[in-house]
Amino acid sequence: MELSDLQTSPGEWLGGTGPEADIVISSRIRLARNLAGYPFLSTANEQQLGELERMVRERLLNTCRAEGMSYFSLPSLGPIDRQFLVERHLISRELASGKGARGVGLAVDETVSIMVNEEDHLRIQGLCSGLQLREAWERVDAVDTRLESCLEFAFSPQFGYLTICPTNAGTGLRASVMLHLPALVMTKQINKVFQAVAKISLIVRGLYGEGTQASGDFYQISNQSTLGKSETDVIELIENVIPKIIGFEKTVRTNLMQQKREVMEDKVWRAYGMLKHARMITSEETMDLLSAVRMGVSLGIIQEVKMDAINELFLFTQPAHLQKQKETQLDETERDVVRASYIRKRLQQSD
């Protein structure tokens, strides 16, 4: 598989087909694993890192044939390709900007990716569309089980899987669900979600923006602790709280539609009009406008565009995706022009 093969499709997780897909974008599971007998990345030397990467890569390609695994070594990829993988949530920013021997194994449908030499020796990640944490866990669990037949992971009966940071020790599992909550943001009630979720030791963070102020009304909810609860307990905890947040967002949307219908319709149609006619548009503005349109599609205010088209636009309008489409490097202003033209074309098609 070549990276350019990925470019034309949005990846299974953005298909908008999973359960509760109008509010839940995706479900993600990641496992941290380290090899026994090797130092962690904090103290490993260059030779050990190289050795480790070669070994994991070989075992990965041999044992994960069923997933159609491909492997990409990060130092051999250019900056646009690295950013491309970050935008698709297949690798972290840290892996993209790191140094030394490191890489990523990708399943052909992009539902599983394995980062090598990120913070831990291995980070196995599963990504599914909509609310499907269990499905993501099953995929990751299967890959992990196959890998442990040929790699010895650092493990202690008392502390579980041993990780470089004690915050990940135990299961090494981080389960997260990405939510689209524009109505709660509009009515300034998103803080209630933060507070409720913090009480049961889950974390909320904004998705695309830097820091805590997320742009585009997207929030990610994940577990904080990794020790003392089994993988399925953690998943259950999150699975139980998500429907409540979905219900909250939906109730607020319904109230808004009853009490401020014109305001809602105006917000959605203005956003749609801007996207359809703008000649230059930044990625932040795109995110905000797409968020409003996405809510409009979900509420039936706009019927001429489909949800999957909007989901794709979120991905395809990001910098590396634009540059890969154009097969050339673009500066910020050029990107704003190309982005606007791409969005116009896509929205015209769906008329």
Partner: protein, 180 residues
């Protein structure tokens, strides 16, 4: 690899200095590294990693941990040479053995982070055999203790027939354990 300084002990501290766009490597044994006051600076260390996952909570926890004695702080992992002080300042262990080397402190720390300190999740299939074996050993140990207690009681009660039975049983168990 031998230590660059003393040429006697095995080098366990590998320093990589990447300042000024050049790389300088140093390989030292535990003692020489400690006497040099060396701080391990891996080229893979990332300043941004504290902002992701639950890493945010760690500095606070470290601040709230009562300072341990200087000796305990300087204690180094026999495998990788990372001291507890280094771990406290970076929030990162040096190798899997650090968990064993700093066991008591690690238990406390993990309990502060996760509110628990016992793993209850997935166990690698390779490790689960060992675990089952350990459990088996523990139950045997308990049974053996019970038998010895019964034996003491039988001897005290001058029930020598019962005592002989118990002695035989203990012998059988110990032979069985030796074979396994």
């Amino acid at each position: 690899m031998l230590c660059e300084l003393c040429n006697k002990s095995e080098a366990v501290v590998h320093l990589v200095d990447v300042s000024n766009n050049s790389r300088a490597e140093k390989h030292l044994c535990k003692d020489c590294a400690a006497s040099q006051g060396a701080t391990i600076k891996s080229h893979m260390q990332k300043s941004s990693s504290s902002t992701k996952d639950a890493g945010d909570v760690l500095p606070e926890i470290f601040q709230n941990l009562s300072a341990t004695s200087g000796a305990a702080e300087a204690e180094a992992c026999g495998q990788c040479g990372t001291t507890y002080r280094q771990f406290r300042s970076s929030g990162k262990f040096g190798c899997p053995e650090c968990y064993v080397e700093f066991n008591v402190k690690v238990s406390d720390l993990l309990e502060k982070i996760h509110s628990r300190c016992e793993h209850t999740g997935k166990v690698p299939s390779t490790a689960s055999d060992d675990l089952a074996q350990q459990k088996e050993l523990q139950t045997q140990q308990k049974r053996l203790q019970g038998l010895y207690a019964d034996l003491d009681k039988a001897v005290n009660d001058e029930d020598y027939e019962r005592a002989a039975e118990l002695r035989d049983e203990i012998q059988r168990m110990q032979e069985g354990a030796a074979e396994a």
